[in-house]
Each structure stands twice: as C-alpha cells, then as structure tokens.
Symmetry: C2
Subunit: 344 residues, 2 copies
C-alpha cells in the first residue's frame, strides 16, 4: 500500500458548492456545502467556495490538515484543464474565468480544474463502479446527458476539451427539438428532462394517475423524473414504459459508444440513473441488439455507485493525479498502471 | 533532426502482399509486392510475405540494409497488437494466427502487427494528411468503412482491440441491410460498395447513361464506384448526386465522431476518397449542420495523401514506434511529442 494521500475535492454547481477532504481511497473525511449564490457575482462565488473548503477542513481529523496535497475542482461547463480556466459555464454565468489561479491564490495550494462530467468519471474510477477499469465511460443522465471518457487509464478531452458530448449523438432523426438546435439528440430522449416530458404527456393523455400520485408524495406535486422513478418502484406500468423507452434510446447511444470506444465498462450515473434496472435493463437489451456482435459482450453496463458524492470524490481524484498522464502529486503511475485501490 | 531510422512495412491484403523499406520520414526506398495466395494456405502466405520483404530489401540502396530497425505489418482483421496475434481475418481465412512470432522467426527482426485501418492512420500521421496532429481520425472508405483513431498522439484500440468500428454507426434506421445484420450502418451508405449499389439503381432506373459510359471506359464495363467517380469528374449530374448523397451520410457519421472525439483533423482515405470534393464538400456541409456549434469549426476534414502506399508506410511507422506509448526502436518520444517530421 502506498503512503496515504489526501486532497480537497470541490463540486462547484450552479446552486450549491460542496467541498470535501478525501483520502487516496476516495473516503470523505470531512465535508461541507454552501449556496453558490451565482446572482451575487464571481467574488461571492469564490468566497463561498473558500468557506466550504475551510469548513470541510475544520470538520476533518486534525492530523490530516497539514497533509493535503492539492485541490481539485469540478466546474459545470467547458474547462481548459491545462490552465484551469473555465471557458464557458452558463450555470455560473461565467465566461473565461481563471478559476484555478484565483483559487490557488486564495487557498495557497495547487489547484486542478476540470469539467463536472470528467470529475464524476474520475470519482467512479477511484472509488465507485469504475474501479480498476482502464477503458471506462461514465455517462451522466441529469438535466442533460454528459460523459467522461477514461481511455487507456487517462481522461480523454480531445483537441479543444469538448470530447464526450454524448448528449448530442443524433438518435431519432425526427425526435424532439434539442437545446443545440437539432432534433433527436440523445439527451432529448433519455435525460431526466426527457423523462419528465414523457410523464407530462402521459398525464395529459389521462394515463398518468400513478405518476401524479407519486408526485404528490415525493416531489411536491411536480410531475418530474423523480415521480416517474417512484411510480416505477410501485410497478406502475405507465412509469415502467416511460423508463423502458428512455432506456431503449440510451441503449442506442451506448451501442454507438461501444462500437467506437470498445470500453470494458460503462457506468451510468446522474439523477435518472436512480431508476436502476427499470432503465438499465432495456438499455442493455438494446445495446446487445445494436452493437457489433462480440463487442456488447465485452462491456459491463452498471449503475454509478457514488451518487452525489461523485463530484467531490472525483475532483479530489483529479487533484491526486488520477486520469493524468504526467504524474500528479500522487504516487507516480497510479492512474497509468490502472491500480485497483482498496475498497473505499 | 534525429538520426535517420529505417523500417520495413508490410501491407498484407487478401489479394496482394506489399512490402517496402521506409525511412523515418515515410519515404519508400525500395518496394515489392506478390500475390497473397490465400487459397494455398498459411505457409504459402508467409513465404510470399517473406519473399516480398527480401525483394524490397534487394531493391533498396545497399547501405540501408544493415540499418533496418524493425518490421511492421498491417493485417486485414482483428489483431491483438500487444502479442502480434491475428485473431480473425476473414480475407486471409485466418483465425488466431501468431503472425508476429511467425514472421519474427523467419525474418530475424522485431515484428509489430496491427490492423490495416490503424496502419493507414499511422501512415497519414507520419507522412500524409495527418502530419503533426495529436488528435486524428483516419476514416477508410472502401468495401466497408473503417477507422484508425489517434488520440493524444497514440493509437487507441479499446479494451479488446475493436475500437473505431465507424462503419457500424447506425445512421439511417430503415436503411439498407448491413453485413452485421442491422440496417442503415454508415458503411451501407458511404462505402464504395454503397456507391456502386446506388449507381446500379440509377442504371436500372434509366438515369445512368453517363455512368455506364464511364464504366465502359475505365472499369471494364462494371458499374462500380470507380465508374461513378469518373462520371462525376465529367460533371454527370447523376453521378454527382450519388456522391453528394454518400457524402451527406458520411457527414452525419463525422458529426457523431466530432461530438465524441473532438479531433483536430479527420483524414478520409480509401478507394472512395478519390472522389475528392464531390464527396468531401457535402460531408463538410452536413458536419457543420449536425455537430455541436463550435466543434465543427475546430476540425479540418481532408483527403488522405498517401493513397495505396498508406498501408506500407503506416506499417513501417508502427515499427518505428509511432502511436505507441512505450518507446519503440525509434527515437524516444517522437509519437508522444507530436513531432512534425519533415515532408516525405
């Protein structure tokens, strides 16, 4: 076993900023979160971030405080990972912000920045459902659909940092209109947003009684993906059919990914992944039907394990050098050798 | 400039085996080819290969012979690159043949083996339209559609060596039946085979006079992709429309690749790429329409430069360590540093 390492992981979202002190096995030793307060401007967002970090440190064992090696941040948008600049983050209303540098000045520690999908992938790689994988795709089904690609043990970002735009694979030529201006992109068919739209359609068609009942119980009456997942757990056939449809479209997208990347493992996370087998079962069936013979059998499609901790754990993994070619402050070669850390 | 390097490249096809002595800039110093003679069994194929190598050496300058560092082979099928085993090569009627080892015994030189699409990609990377690219996709449009992926300067093979099955991206849900058993795969729409089928359809619809005339002149009367390309060069509108249609489908496939890989360059090669702008123009238009805004502008889509030399040059590049993480016999870091070799 390597000497234990420690890093701070920050999950910077549009509503909430979470920070955690994380060890080299992905265990959170202390955590905190604060509202991001995007409305109040960049300085306040940075202050809230620093405060969350200080609280997380204060809540961690005293002995760990002098041993933090670096800070990682997952930001919601396009990030230039090499420089730590956030190029565009609509949810933060940021354009070209030198986040890495600004936090480094305030925290007096080395800061690494990447986008939230990449951090989620590193989290699952370090301590979740992707442990030990060298060829791993982590798909996040939330408001949209994103992905982090771990290829040959390294995060793959592409020439401009935009690789992995899985949400915009065209799946259904005449499908729903996407935010990107085209029709039938994967995220119009299997995101939480898409499932909510299917549910509202079912309700307006008079088939949604169970979903409405679920919405009253768990979602303050709002007919959204959570209500569909709850109704599906109660075996409501309409909710199950909606998740089956979304899962089938997901399977088409997965087949394209499998044919192109030949991964050993695909981890499905994000809020919609809590649907579990009601979604993943149909996705696997469609994948087997659509991927090249032989390729579908080489890949395991599994649910994410870290839930909403993935962001903090993954940002810490980024700081510890996971997914990077050049050695980070962590033990040399951990990411490259595909080392399997012990259970976190 | 590094000390000059030399390798032998072998392009092992179902009909013909070609060998060349190649220098570190991708120049062929001596070459030869022989019929593969698949019918006569594996031993004869190996003998023909060795003979082509010996002839290529005999035709090279005398001073180069003692300086060959390694041998590379591109094989038509699934290859386990680490061990040099050909797992499945229908055109050779081979299953699990230890090609690397068998040739190493006969040639008494280190032998590297990879599939032909990966070798073509390395050829274009070393000395063709992909020079200097770190994020490069090389698509080959021939009987089928294949691809070699250079990601972060390295060949990406995936977990089982199957990555880059671009030909089986589903593009048209109710499209033509593919050899893989599904419908509307990219290779049913923009391969040489697909273009030939569209041409035969045009002929049977009575719209194919110019294509038939071209076929008589250049293709022994056979209505195939070559005849369509010839008629297109004479500005036949039917032939141009066929290439526009194939190019448009290609553009849909490219949009998916661009969204997922964010490459800086896509090189289009193979027999159908000789159609040039009649095919690539519509492909670029469709790519711009379909890829995420911003991403299409980051990528150049260009025709391959090496033609049917790509196989030999690329196999030699493989031997010289291009696209490999661990240093080959070549200068350390050439592939990793994205070095731009001088013009070949």
């Amino acid at each position: 076993m390597d000497k234990m390492q420690y890093a701070i992981g920050i999950d910077l979202g549009g509503t909430k900023v979470a920070a955690g002190v994380v060890d080299g096995q992905g265990r959170i030793l202390g955590r905190s979160h604060r509202p991001t307060e995007v409305d109040r401007g960049r300085e306040v967002v940075l202050e809230n971030t620093v405060r969350a970090v200080r609280e997380a440190l204060a809540r961690s064992p005293r002995w760990v405080r002098g041993r933090i090696q670096a800070v990682g941040v997952g930001a919601p948008g396009t990030v230039e990972a090499g420089t730590g600049r956030v190029l565009l983050a609509p949810n933060l209303r940021w354009q070209d912000v030198a986040l890495g540098q600004l936090l480094q000045e305030r925290l007096q520690m080395r800061v690494y920045v990447d986008n939230d999908a990449n951090c989620a992938a590193l989290g699952e790689l370090l301590a979740g459902a992707g442990r030990g994988s060298r060829h791993l795709l982590v798909i996040t089904l939330g408001t949209g659909v994103g992905a982090g690609l771990v290829l040959d043990g390294q995060l793959y970002r592409g020439a401009g940092g935009f690789a992995g735009e899985v949400g915009h694979i065209p799946v259904l030529p005449d499908g729903p209109l996407c935010g990107c201006g085209r029709r039938g992109c994967l995220e119009t068919l299997c995101s939480a947003t898409a499932v909510a739209a299917m549910a509202r359609q079912a309700v307006s068609d008079g088939r949604g009684a169970a979903i409405v009942a679920a919405a009253r119980r768990i979602a303050q009456g709002q007919v959204d993906a959570r209500a569909v997942m709850a109704a599906a757990r109660w075996k409501d056939p309409v909710a199950l059919a909606i998740l089956r449809e979304a899962g089938t479209y997901l399977g088409i997208g997965l087949a394209i990914l499998v044919n192109l990347f030949n991964p050993e493992r695909i981890v499905v996370g994000g809020s919609l992944a809590r649907a579990g087998e009601a979604l993943l079962g149909p996705a696997r069936e469609e994948l087997a039907r659509r991927a090249l013979p032989g390729l579908a059998q080489q890949v395991a499609v599994v649910a994410a394990e870290l839930g909403n901790q993935a962001g903090v754990v993954g940002a810490a993994a980024l700081a510890l050098g996971w997914g990077r070619k050049e050695p980070g402050p962590g033990p040399e070669g951990a990411a490259r050798a595909g080392a399997e850390p012990a259970e976190g």
